[in-house]
Subunit: 354 residues, 2 copies
Amino acid sequence: MRETLAEWRPAVDEAIDDLVPREIDAEYLESFFGEPTYEYDPDGIQRALSDPLWDLLDRGGKRWRAVLFLVFVEGFGEDPAEYLPYACIPEILHNGTIIVDDVEDEAAIRRGEPALHHLYGQDVALNAGNAMYFLPLKILTENPADLPAEQRLAAYEMLMYELNRTHLGQGMDICWHNEHEVRVTPAQYLEMCACKTGCLGRIVARLAAIITDQPPEVEEAVANYAELTAVAFQIGDDILDVENSLGRAGEFGKEFGNDVREGKKTLLVIHAIEESPPDRAQRLQEILEANANTDEEVLEALSIIEEAGSIEDARERALELAAQAREEIDGLDFDAETSRKLREFTQFVIDRDV
Amino acid sequence: MRETLAEWRPAVDEAIDDLVPREIDAEYLESFFGEPTYEYDPDGIQRALSDPLWDLLDRGGKRWRAVLFLVFVEGFGEDPAEYLPYACIPEILHNGTIIVDDVEDEAAIRRGEPALHHLYGQDVALNAGNAMYFLPLKILTENPADLPAEQRLAAYEMLMYELNRTHLGQGMDICWHNEHEVRVTPAQYLEMCACKTGCLGRIVARLAAIITDQPPEVEEAVANYAELTAVAFQIGDDILDVENSLGRAGEFGKEFGNDVREGKKTLLVIHAIEESPPDRAQRLQEILEANANTDEEVLEALSIIEEAGSIEDARERALELAAQAREEIDGLDFDAETSRKLREFTQFVIDRDV
């Protein structure tokens, strides 16, 4: 999968450049957005849209959503090169959510540089992020692969389903974060991940199935694969934060325990509060609720999580989800190469150690 | 039109309540957003979505976008009551843009109360605003009026066209606001209004035309009517700020000249800078660029605008746009009552004095 990512990345970036050029002119605006009633201001739109978008994209990112889409398309027996504009849909959407999330979280840094709202102002950053929600959806109307009307409608309906659930997931996550008490069930945590992270994965998979006209059961199987992999990825993230923190806590001057410091209600925290003796659960809750914690307190919280067996519990769940994801793929008629890539992708997601 | 607004408002609010109930439960979530993979958290979604949405709606608003939609539907010979869920599409979209705009502008007050991000936090407010971009679009998939596939697809394609242009308009406006120099042409200013304010009006008109299956030339005529009326409305806003400020400048303790204080590049400012003698244009530019101005300076700027004949110029343009809007309606086969309402609506927009 690593080679596939490297192989397709330049073509994906070229396809994005076709949709939102680095240099905006009146001709592009007219052809993509339609004729103006009066007169566009290409300079303004350069600064409002193209500059922030390309600033973020040029900072990196593997474009794995676009590439996973192309892997599916190839697995469905079609030529990926013909569907490059569609591969940009989840990729631009994803980068739009990054800009908006950073405003919501008041993040300082993104991909090693100041978050976009610090460079362009909150107004420009937010409007660019939101524009990146709608701009990719217009690709379906442009219809570069000459899809029949039913497929275009199916794609729109799918996108509205998934993008609505994305906002439910983000809503749950934000609300829990603003609450003091940990009152969430493991099932609700998994649902939050399935909505917030999973839906964009589902868009990748379902869009590939819809535009290549797969039967509903195939679309569902690849959607489940993508969702399960995304949820496993999210849990892997939570595990890594605790494990790396426990390993790093002795090192002088290194930050550790960020999730605990932020009071994040991860699957591990939810498990530890459910499974610890009442006084330890109470103590963990206290540390999470506090506005600031000493290193010793953070370490204490991490120990409570470790002693409750929450790391093993989370790892078991992640492995189980990854196994389920692979089963979805095994039930399909993909060629050996595609199956290998998809299994490798899921494996990569739970194996990574950074 | 005033009676029509009062008449329909309760039914519109009931229809919105059907789409996003004031009290969220698992059953609603499942029926509107689809079955969860694991388990929803209705309490979280109550606070993330329903509470902010209804807080804003309960503060007022005439629901004129929904009502204008219903007037069109009736004019096209259909029963408005059957299309109430569709009337909510532009209304929820509009209220979503209000929440997001207030974050972008760092507004303190909305409809006489603290802006939503001050009450719910920037994260909740923004996510709710963005959820309100996608939630109404799902109504087309729910398909309450049992529309054939072509009409649903046409509605989605129309919405993507207009919502993309909305973000172009907002992008131009924000960029100009952040720039010091006034370098915009009147045509670009009108385009900004047509995109930013006009597109939501166009959505109202085109959606009514699409779901009642009108021919393309009718859809285009009502879209033009709505756009022209919206642009006239925007210019009316700019005129009012200058006129009320000139009238109020002598009154002790009253705020005046808000647009000048904000450095807003209105049509009047653009005209005044083009038409004034170089030293006066230069002075106006200076006052607009300054971070803070005394009352005397604001008054000086307003006088430059007045002396340039910019108020008359703007009023002529607004009247011309309103006349064009009425012509679009006169060319259609509406019954006398619908034509009267639509003419009245355009008249109201340019006549208002608050």
